[in-house]
């Protein structure tokens, strides 16, 4: 019984013929402007397949027929594996899932303290996230300050991978790191062969705008593709600064930049699952900051869903919000962002749990509040059915206009349970009743719930022995990374 996300693509911001114009513009930029790729082996394989490479500038231009050939082998349906079948995620172009994450430096803890994240926070937040029913994919929500910067992703992998049964959204600083992660997954899966047959983690590579693939990213992309490890090929455009200010122009840059990576992955290993990904935002012209929750940012994310689908690729969008506390700003930002993305059919709504302050801060309380918002948003997106049963004409006839009601009708009892969403920490009482129950606001309710969930010592996803072995491999990987650096 794998997870099958809600099917959704209700919301369209781009008209069909406009979408064709965007597609043409992306194809034109790929073929005539090109993308800078620093990694020579990437340029070589592209050149071998008909791309035009300028060896002096490292700019590669990808003709339309090469793009089309690559898109033919890039699957639009695949599975991202969990540690057990009920955590498998069935990906296609219409289903919507959520991802946690990503990489905050600080936490807002349950005592209300704002402080640097430590490894224990990564453990606790991952345990908390693991209890969120609507979370589908696990990601490192913080980068702890007490782990080495070189190879930090291996320590984070060991932590999240050991705690969580969900498919893990990983990243790598080198090709060797990808191999280290395969070794760690093999501890749980029994062998490296099995770890590659059913990859339980996915790698993200983040391209730079405008149109630049730095060496490390291409290296990680090619290594992952060689092993058939699925890829989130991501661009983090800063609309107005690193991409054109108009949203349409930003969609064009994103498309060209991401698709260059998709083409490369398909040439290395045809059939490698590639997820068209963005974490773009507008630049706030008043302070130069990235705004994850600006309405224009949400528009970019919703519209990109259509662009990715047009190219037949599953899509990851969504990004952190700007609020610093679980306050009214946090609530409205998250709700608009999540609901819009779900309605737009963003296949993976990323950074949707607990991420605040331009992705710098993770809040325990907000994780729990976000589950509530996401659940409500999914309920809206599920819509309702119209058929003879739901039209209820017979029922209306039976109850009649003579002062009857529906509360005692069997149909009501049978129907409401499957139709209604039941909130966990949302209060719908009147003032007096709410006061009598303690008069808590949502942040307090979330705090209590988070504490209660963390107090339950649930078993981790792997055994103690496996966790210890995975940790040993992670530490070894960090040591090796250190040695490689010293040799350089």
């Amino acid at each position: 019984m794998p997870r099958r996300g809600l099917k959704s693509n209700w919301l369209k911001f781009i008209k069909d013929d406009d979408l064709e114009q965007i597609r043409f513009a992306i194809v034109e930029v790929l073929a005539e402007v090109g993308v800078l790729m620093e990694y020579r082996p990437a340029l070589e394989i592209l050149a071998d397949h008909g791309a035009r490479v300028d060896w002096d500038t490292s700019v590669v231009k990808i003709p339309e027929d090469l793009l089309e050939r690559a898109l033919l082998t890039a699957p639009s349906r695949f599975t991202l594996y969990g540690k057990t079948p009920e955590y498998d995620v069935k990906v296609d172009l219409d289903r919507v899932y959520t991802i946690g994450g990503s990489c905050a430096l600080s936490v807002l803890d349950l005592d209300g303290k704002h402080r640097l994240a430590v490894r224990q926070d990564l453990v606790d937040l991952t345990r908390l996230l693991e209890e969120m029913p609507n979370l589908d994919i696990m990601h490192q929500i913080v980068v702890p300050s007490d782990v080495p910067e070189l190879g930090y992703e291996l320590i984070n992998f060991a932590t999240c991978y050991s705690v969580s049964k969900r498919n893990y959204y990983s990243q790598a600083q080198s090709a060797e790191s990808v191999r280290d992660q395969v070794r760690m997954a093999a501890v749980f899966q029994g062998s490296e062969e099995e770890a590659l047959r059913r990859p339980t983690f996915t790698e993200v590579v983040c391209m730079v705008s405008p149109c630049k693939h730095e060496k490390q990213n291409s290296e990680v992309l090619m290594e992952s593709a060689r092993h058939g490890i699925p890829l989130y090929i991501e661009v983090d455009a800063l609309c107005g600064a690193t991409t054109p200010a108009p949203i349409a122009g930003t969609l064009v840059e994103q498309g060209a930049n991401v698709l260059a990576g998709v083409v490369l992955a398909q040439l290395v290993n045809p059939g490698t699952p590639c997820i068209f990904s963005i974490a773009s935002g507008i630049i706030d012209m008043a302070n130069g900051a990235y705004s994850g929750a600006a309405p224009e940012t949400t528009l970019i994310h919703a519209a990109t869903a259509q662009v990715a689908r047009r190219f037949g690729l599953p899509y990851q969008g969504g990004t952190g919000i700007d609020a610093k506390l679980p306050d009214a700003q946090a609530g409205y930002e998250r709700a608009l962002q999540v609901l819009t993305n779900i309605l737009a059919g963003t296949n993976f709504v990323h950074l949707s749990y607990g991420m605040m302050e331009q992705m710098l801060l993770a809040s325990y309380e907000q994780v729990v509040i976000d589950e509530e918002i996401i659940a409500a948003a999914f309920r809206i997106a599920r819509g309702f059915e119209v058929n003879d049963y739901t039209l209820s004409v017979d029922l209306l006839a039976r109850v009649g206009p003579l002062g009857g009601h529906f509360l005692t009708q069997r149909e009501t009892r049978d129907f409401y349970r499957q139709d209604r969403w039941v909130p966990h920490i949302t209060d719908r009482n009147t003032w007096d009743t709410w006061q009598a129950a303690g008069g808590k606001d949502m942040r307090q309710a979330a705090n209590e719930r988070a504490r209660a969930l963390l107090a339950e010592e649930k078993p981790w996803a792997v055994t103690h022995e496996q966790a210890a072995e995975i940790e040993r491999l992670a530490q070894e990987g960090v040591r090796k990374a250190q040695e490689r650096k010293e040799r350089m």
Partner: protein, 219 residues
């Protein structure tokens, strides 16, 4: 108003409106009219960029206007400084700044905004680019006379490298000779203090203000 006043007012307006072509043309006219190029800078361009800064602070102007103004300013200064140098004089630079995004981090935009604003405000900027190793920051100090090291990082994982650069400066006995300022999304005032930086700017405008304070107070 005489021609001199017209030109100086035009230079100021050209900066405020972010019109590099207009500023270039007026700078050349200023020289042709025999206006002292130092006066053209101090009484034309500087009041312009000061007004732009004021408008930015009160959210009347935003980054694009600010950057266009700085660009116009820079183009005017380039022409006028050439003439100052030809006369055997030198415009006082507030300080020479070795600026870059630290090693491992290839994010360019924030650092470039800071560079543009610093040079518009009378600093000599050596833009070392992105992914800059400690060694190149040090060369900026030893070989090119930078009195300020300005480091930027966007990624939490690359931020710790700033501390390495400061340690290298200490190891080489250069720490007392320079001011170090840091900035970028993950950087906080506490972090800046913790690693022993002299200053921290929350955004590009703050970076200019902080650095000005540092170099003029002689602290």
């Amino acid at each position: 108003m005489g021609e001199r006043e017209d030109i100086l007012a035009g230079l100021e307006k050209g900066v405020i409106e972010g019109e590099p072509e207009k500023v270039v043309e007026l700078a050349q006219r200023a020289l042709a009219a025999g206006i002292d190029p130092l006066d053209a800078i101090n009484q034309g361009l500087i009041p312009g960029i000061t007004e732009v800064g004021r408008r930015f602070e009160c959210k009347d102007y935003f980054l694009p206007e600010l950057m266009m103004a700085a660009d116009a300013m820079k183009k005017g200064v380039t022409i006028l400084e050439k003439e100052i140098a030809a006369g055997g004089r030198k415009r006082e630079s507030l300080a020479t700044v070795a600026l870059g995004t630290v090693k491992g981090d290839i994010h360019d935009i924030g650092k470039s905004i800071v560079g543009t604003l610093l040079s518009a405000h009378g600093f000599d900027v050596i833009d070392l680019g992105v992914d800059v190793p400690a060694e190149r920051f040090l060369e900026g100090v030893t070989d090119r006379g930078a009195g300020v090291v300005a480091m930027s990082a966007l990624l939490p994982t690359t931020m710790p490298y700033m501390q390495r650069v400061i340690q290298e400066l200490e190891t080489r006995g250069l720490r007392d000779k320079v001011k170090v300022i840091v900035g970028g999304a993950p950087v906080t005032p506490e972090y800046a203090r913790q690693i022993g930086a002299d200053g921290y700017g929350d955004d590009a405008v703050a970076a200019v203000r902080v650095l000005r304070g540092l170099v003029t107070s002689g602290q």
